[in-house]
């Protein structure tokens, strides 16, 4: 296999990421924890700095020049995100703190319309962020949670989903790409089936929006959530996409400044979308910097990013499969690296994931060890924790080689002691 694109994409972008050029424990850093959070390019750091150096003022609250600049930049970032996920209207994009807050917004504002016996379909593979808010809704309303399990391939079990869904189903809330199993859900198909039964669909796109083109209109989902920090943006900002009519029909989530039209002592009317859902001073600088991140990703091209990550996936799996002690979770990619995300959660024989992570860290390699906020999935897989390497477009084949060599050394180190 040739990785000609690597010379173009990763080599092209690495100078944009100052953090990647450092030594950890005396070794060049190999950052493979991108599913937890991504690194930030200079243009994003500059956007944050420029905003605070030049434009900092509160938004929507002043007629002075700085306030107007800050407002334009903040609303400009909203336009960029709307375009990035192909929303029909900029009013359909609500800034939140992160994906978790976006899900909680829907769970609170829309979830309160649910009644005793209404059903919510989730999957066992959900991140805790897309589980706990619905547990809370179920406790409040008497709605019932139903769960799709992984199939034999360790992907979303579409057949089981079709058997679970019924006219009682009010909501299907599922992730687009699993942060643990790495499979890519057929969300358009899942949505079409849900809509046939009159159910709404929320897509947790935390692990897809940073890595591939995402088109909310093509998916036809009712809501979609993502976190800025996993897509080259800063922490503290994420977004909710929702269909306009649906967002209109939902009551506010949090109350305060910014989200009002007219306020009296005993009541108030609410601002139009999207401000109705943005109470209080938002993360202005962060939102603007997320806009810069979206510009950056778009300039590289999401198609190109995805295609390059497929090449990395193919190489990663080809290498991992040569270590017999590993149990890798989730579906295998094709030889071209298609069919799953550029991440791998695995266990390594006798070596506990924690010990593995410490040993790899000594080699400068950052991976995640633990349950990756998918404890029910780990319980289902009968494993307490796994190690996970997750890649992004700035990772290289050479970095995979460093990771694999360190992994093999770790496995051998433990094996030599155990004999």
């Amino acid at each position: 296999m040739t990785l000609t694109q690597e010379k173009t994409l990763a080599a092209q972008v690495r100078p944009d990421f100052p953090i990647l050029h450092q030594q950890v424990n005396g070794k060049p850093l190999v950052y493979l924890d991108n599913a937890a959070t991504s690194q930030k390019p200079l243009v994003v750091l500059d956007a944050l700095r420029d905003y605070y150096e030049r434009d900092n003022a509160n938004v929507h609250r002043g007629v002075h020049t700085l306030s107007s600049r800050a407002t334009d930049a903040y609303e400009g970032a909203r336009d960029k995100i709307a375009k990035f996920v192909n929303a029909a209207s900029r009013q359909e994009i609500v800034f939140t703190r992160n994906a978790s807050e976006a899900i909680n917004l829907v769970a609170y504002a829309w979830g309160s319309t649910l009644k005793q016996g209404d059903e919510i379909i989730l999957s066992v593979m959900e991140h805790h962020s897309n589980l706990i808010p619905w547990q809370m809704v179920a406790q409040r309303t008497g709605a019932v949670l139903k769960f799709v399990e992984p199939n034999a391939n360790e992907e979303f079990n579409l057949e089981q989903y079709k058997a679970l869904i019924s006219n009682k189903t009010r909501l299907v809330s599922i992730l687009h790409v699993s942060n643990t199993l790495g499979y890519i859900n057929p969300v358009a198909e899942i949505t079409a089936i849900a809509h046939h039964y009159g159910a709404r669909v929320l897509v947790d796109a935390c692990q897809s929006v940073p890595h591939m083109p995402v088109d909310v209109q093509a998916m036809d989902c009712d809501w979609l959530v993502a976190s800025g920090h996993k897509m080259c943006g800063p922490t503290g900002v994420g977004f909710l996409y929702g269909k306009l009519d649906l967002l209109r029909s939902m009551p506010p989530f949090l109350g305060g400044g910014e989200m009002i039209a007219d306020v009296f002592l005993d009541h108030a009317t609410y601002a139009d979308l999207p401000h109705k859902f943005e109470a209080g001073t938002p993360a202005i600088g962060e939102a603007i910097a997320l806009g810069a991140a979206v510009d950056y990703l778009s300039s590289l091209g999401m198609d190109k990013i995805h295609a390059y990550e497929e090449q990395l996936t193919a190489y990663l799996f080809q290498q991992l499969q040569q270590i017999p002690e590993l149990r890798i979770y989730g579906p295998r990619p094709t030889l071209e690296g298609k069919g799953r995300a550029a991440l791998a959660a695995f266990t390594a024989g006798e070596v506990h994931p924690h010990d593995l992570s410490t040993i790899l860290d000594e080699a400068g390699v950052a991976i995640r060890a633990g349950h990756h906020c998918t404890q029910p999935l780990h319980r289902y897989l009968k494993v307490q924790s796994t190690a996970r390497a997750s890649l992004y477009f700035y990772n290289t084949q050479a970095e995979i080689d460093v990771f694999i060599a360190a992994l093999r050394e770790a496995v051998d180190f433990f094996a030599s002691i155990f004999g």
């Binding site: 924790s385 360190a406 180190f413 433990f414 155990f418």
Partner: protein, 156 residues
Amino acid sequence: MSLDNLRNLYQQVILEHYKKPRNRGKTSPVHRHQRGHNPSCGDTIDLTLQLDEAGNHIQDVKFEGEGCAIAMSSADLMADAMRGKSVKEALEMIQRFQAMMKGEAEFPKELRKLNVMQGVAQFPVRIKCATLTWHTLKAALELAHSETPEYVSNES
């Protein structure tokens, strides 16, 4: 890879106790039972104690659970060291172990085997792994007369 650092952490003794623990299981009878839990990684430990009739001395300590080499060997080494100790001595040892994790103390000659855990102090993120069993023992000893919580956590 800087194996020197790692050899200091994963000393032979630690790996032997991980691989062939001597104190896995449940004491019989069980006078105290305490569950410990590390919420950030999911590691769990179930400690059981057998005490003398007066409840002043530890006769046996056993553990069950799942965790990394550091957590499991720490539990096994602790169980060995606790046999025959008075509750007061045990509480002092817990304090000393915690101080050792800050690089501020070590154990005297007769308990020197516990000093193999000193290397953990160089790996701050792993200290929680080593102390889980000690936190759990502390709860088992101190909460004896009050309501025992379902589990203790070493997140603080």
